[in-house]
């Protein structure tokens, strides 16, 4: 049977984190009561007119430049017409024929090799309102216009991905870039990142693409990957059976993990795009591009190389740290506050990520301050606290944001490094465990470990284990 290859393209809708909406001055902050961040413009009232928020263009340009796109000059806003109760004007202001950015690319590692995906188009548009359908009232739906007019960036890729792992790499690269560029919080669960996929299959030895199927309702990485896997399998099977693939739009069903037909080409929407007469063509001049380019932050790939170079980290550790901007930021801030690089990196890539994974959180959600991280490293390095005590402290400051020194003081975790104080405890332990002491003297090395353990137990972990071992050895040999 013939081998088949898939071509996958993604449309990413990212909500930009500007202070105000894209065409009016309403705030974008999340969590406000319904319909409190609205005005005649975002409600689409008669007579209202849009005015473009320049900050949205700044944010969009960062992405356009970071993804190596050409800037359309001018770029044109257009009206995309369709009727839906979440769309106040029954048209959406978007860009179609002259998007802000075009013909770029993104590169990211997949299975140890760099993969390049071409970006067809990056454009600015406005979000729609949010509809809710109350369970107990089937005659009405509720509309919250707070979301209407929120700035969205749509990033459209060419169908340059061929496997779910490439799709995953692409989504991670996009999300990471949005966070690094500081243009979106990219929180999936709040709908700040939404996807649409297109999938086609073809015989592996043929270059010509197969019939394209679009998939909507993809609200998580998991949904995208599930839908892509399902579609590749479905289409491959159909083609192998000699069936023709229908050019259509399908919906992903998260519950049953299948795609189902939504509409075919014959019933496709006609959006009747035409240039938005209420907005002038957007002309981004050289100066504007130069300014945004100069302010462009370092992205994950470059930062990883720099961390290896500057801090002598392993490529692996640097990779883990830079995968999430907040993590790498914490690392560099702690080092700049005097923490040695290697132990600081170990805390973050080890215990911290373990705690985050356990709670299904990201570094941005945690409260760990770089000062506190630097303190923990310093307290351990200076033998002020023991390893186990340090872990106890870290687990707390990771989510409380407290100072490590304060927690150590509060819990009385300071390491006992005083010979006299520790000597008394050791004498007690030897007295209580005469048989173990005897065994050690007879040459059973493991008995020493047991006795050290008892010292640690008696001091509730505060004893300096190295000093305790030395003292024990000395005392046992002297007796």
């Amino acid at each position: 049977m013939a081998e088949y290859a898939a071509n996958i393209g993604l449309e990413v809708h990212a909500e930009l984190s500007t202070k105000t909406k894209v065409f009016c001055g309403c705030l974008t902050a999340a969590g406000a009561p319904p319909n409190t961040q609205v005005c005649p413009v975002c409600l689409g009232f008669p007579g209202s007119l849009p005015v473009l928020n320049r900050a949205v263009v700044d944010y969009a340009l960062r992405v356009v430049l970071a993804f190596n796109c050409e800037v359309s000059r001018p770029s044109i806003f257009e009206r995309k017409g369709y009727y839906y109760p979440d769309l106040p004007k029954n048209f959406q202001i978007s860009q179609k024929r002259a998007p802000l950015g075009r013909s770029g690319y993104v590169e990211f590692p997949v299975d140890g090799e760099m993969h390049r995906v071409r970006i067809a188009d990056i454009h600015i548009e406005e979000d729609a309102a949010k509809l809710t359908h109350p369970e107990d009232d089937r005659a009405h739906s509720l509309v919250d216009f707070n979301r209407a007019g929120m700035p969205l960036l749509e990033i459209v890729s060419e169908p340059d991905m061929h496997s779910p792992s490439q799709v995953e790499g692409y989504m991670n690269a996009i999300r990471s870039a949005l966070l690094y560029l500081g243009v979106s919080e990219a929180r999936m669960e709040q709908g700040q990142l939404r996807f649409e996929a297109s999938v086609s299959v073809r015989p592996a030895d043929r270059a010509e693409l197969g019939i394209r199927v679009e998939i909507k309702n993809l609200n998580s990485f998991r949904a995208v990957l599930g839908a892509v896997k399902y579609e590749i399998a479905r289409q491959t099977k159909a083609v192998q059976a000699g069936e023709t693939i229908l050019q259509e739009t399908r919906l992903w069903d998260d519950l049953h993990e299948v795609t189902a037909p939504m509409r075919t080409k014959e019933t496709a929407m006609d959006y009747r795009y035409f240039p938005e007469p209420d907005l002038m063509p957007l002309v981004v001049d050289d100066e504007w591009i130069a300014r945004v380019r100069a302010e462009l932050p370092e992205l994950a790939g470059r930062r990883r190389e720099r961390l290896v170079r500057e801090y002598a980290l392993s490529d692996y550790d640097a990779g883990i740290l830079t995968a999430e901007k907040a993590l790498a930021d914490l690392f560099e801030a702690a080092v700049s506050r005097g923490a040695p690089a290697k132990p600081a990196a170990n805390w973050l890539t080890g215990r911290f990520l373990y705690l985050l994974n356990e709670r299904n959180l990201t570094a941005a959600d945690a409260a760990l301050s770089p000062e506190a991280l630097a303190e923990v490293v310093e307290l351990v390095e200076s033998n002020t606290i023991s390893g186990p005590a340090a872990r106890q402290v870290f687990d707390r400051i990771a989510f409380s944001g407290e100072s490590a020194k304060k927690v150590v003081a509060e819990l009385g975790l300071t390491q006992i490094s005083d010979q006299d104080e520790l000597g008394t405890t050791i004498d007690e332990v030897i007295a209580e465990h005469g048989d173990a002491a005897e065994n050690y003297r007879k040459g059973k090395e493991s008995a020493l470990k047991f006795l050290v353990g008892q010292v640690m137990r008696k001091t509730r972990g505060r004893a300096n284990p190295k000093l305790a071992t030395e003292l024990l050895e000395k005392k046992l040999k002297a007796d």
Binding site: G47, F274, D278
Partner: protein
């Protein structure tokens, strides 16, 4: 002259002078205007809403401020009538459409803010063709307005209510909007002065959109000086309208020098005939007489040809309905205005609401626009029309290399009879043949009285200038006006027979 019974007949400049000298109060002027409304409105139906409570409060505030010696703007206390197309906070605004039934805007249009800042007094909202689509005011959901010069004839449109109200002295000043001639054509048919400013000169913020790339707000007044005064109050940059021009407006009254020696005037050939058919003989005669007058005043006149103007009507009837079909999509019954009571589900609610809420002409243009924007037709219609629009603009640019002002008729005929063109949309569309090209060019255009037909119906002269040449238009119009008596004639609209029911809606 300052007896309160004739105050409504004064121009704004005359009234403002009396008000400033405290010879009359704003309240007296308002009472005179409302007395006139009482007298003639039953016959005319210029207004769809009289805002008497608001007006009396505004007038009282002006009088109080003046008594205290507070500084006031020049037009403070002058009554103005507002086309029912501007959003007025707390005052119903319908665009004379059933679909905006019950809509009370939560905000003021920029021009309304400016009127308030200039302390003008709001007489009421005037009648218009539904969503400004029409040339006769017969397309109003609230019934037609009649021409004060002949009650069997239309006042023109779409700002027919405003033009009729000024012509019949039911107000001192009025405002209209002009997308394809909606200020100039009714001004011409009612024998008053109307000016459509350069696109972007006056803010469109809060003006209910018909065709966004063509709509402009402007004054409708009794003479040219009033026109300059009101334009000065309305013009200026507004950051809420992205198409608003940043240039600070000049003091327009300074342009009224009476001096036009050497002014280069071009009579546009394409304004005088369309597809081989000339304008009505009495109109052609009045325009030619006006040219002769300009020459007597020292202007240099010649004929010019702008060949692409012949495509103006088809270009306009592609672009304007395309924009309208999108602008009017929001009237769906979800948030405001009319919602069909009889609907099962969202699609039916949309369908019934729009079917019951819009009138025939509005539906016709929505369908036209929806069609020309559809996939597969866009390039052949919208794109082609946009390209021809560019050619029309170039024709104007070329003409203004040799001319300071272009002139011609405003309307190919005098006011036509009610119902005469109501069933023939194409004939109705042709009545805007001379005005539409000016909107396509984004240029300032003006209508001033230049004569009367043998039946005693007014004829308007159109003056067109390059972008931001409002001062040139006003200077030429003023010199022409002051050399004759046309602007002094007033319509006498009172019908002898009584007993018809008033259609006026009261505020409340």
């Amino acid at each position: 002259m300052s007896t309160s019974s004739s105050l409504h007949e004064l121009t704004a400049a005359e009234l403002a002078d009396l008000l400033a000298r405290k010879e009359v109060s704003a309240r007296e002027a308002l009472d005179a205007v409302y007395a006139r409304v009482e007298e003639v409105e039953e016959d005319l139906h210029s207004f769809v809403l009289l805002t008497r409570e608001t007006a009396e409060r505004q007038a009282a505030e002006v009088d109080e401020a003046r008594a205290k010696g507070e500084p006031l703007p020049p037009l403070a206390g002058v009554p103005i009538a507002l086309k029912d197309i501007y959003c007025t906070k707390g005052i119903p605004t319908t665009c004379c459409s059933r679909i905006l039934e019950g809509f009370v805007p939560p905000y003021d249009a920029d021009v309304i803010e400016r009127c308030r800042a200039h302390r003008l007094v709001f007489v009421g909202k005037t009648n218009m063709d539904e969503f400004a689509m029409g040339s006769s005011t017969e397309n109003s959901a609230f019934g037609p307005t009649r021409n004060p010069w002949d009650l069997d004839r239309v006042p023109g449109g779409s700002s027919g209510g405003s033009a009729a109200a000024v012509a019949a002295s039911e107000t001192v000043l009025a405002m209209g909007t002009d997308t394809g001639g909606s200020i100039r054509q009714p001004a011409s048919l009612c024998g008053v002065v109307g000016l459509k400013p350069t696109y972007g000169r006056v803010s469109r913020y809060g003006v209910i959109a018909y065709a966004s790339s063509l709509d402009q707000v402007g004054p409708i007044t009794k003479d040219v000086r009033d026109c300059a005064l009101l334009l000065g109050a309305l013009a200026g940059h507004d950051p809420r309208d992205s198409t608003s021009l940043p240039d600070p407006p000049p003091n327009y009254t300074r342009a009224l020098t009476g001096e036009i020696k050497g002014l280069r005037v071009g009579l546009v050939k394409e304004f005088m005939e369309y597809q081989g058919v000339g304008v009505a003989p009495e109109v052609a005669e009045a325009v030619k007489a006006a040219i002769a007058r300009f020459e007597e005043l020292g202007a240099v006149c010649r004929e010019v040809s702008l060949p692409h103007l012949n495509y103006s009507i088809p270009v306009y009837y592609i672009l304007a309905p395309a924009e309208a079909s999108s602008n009017l999509a929001r009237y769906d019954g979800v948030q405001y205005g009319y919602r069909s009571a009889d609907a099962d589900g969202i699609i039916e609610m949309y369908r019934n609401t729009r079917n019951e809420g819009f009138g025939a002409e509005v539906k016709r243009r929505i369908m036209l626009g929806t069609y020309t924007l559809s996939a597969g037709y866009y390039d052949a219609y919208y794109l082609k029309a946009a390209q021809v629009r560019t050619l029309i603009r170039r024709d104007f640019d070329a003409a203004f290399e040799d001319c300071d002002v272009l002139v011609g008729p405003v309307s190919p005929t005098v006011a036509f009879r009610l119902g005469e063109k109501a069933d023939d949309p194409v004939q109705m569309y042709l009545s805007d043949v001379c005005t539409i090209p000016v909107n396509l060019g984004g240029l300032p255009g003006m209508s001033i009285p230049c004569g009367f037909s043998p039946d005693g119906l007014p004829i308007g002269l159109q003056l067109v200038g390059p972008p931001l040449a409002e001062e040139t238009l006003l200077r030429a119009a003023h010199a022409f006006e002051q050399s004759g008596q046309f602007h002094r004639r007033r319509a006498v609209p009172v019908r002898q027979r009584k007993g018809r029911r008033s259609a006026v809606v009261r505020e409340g």
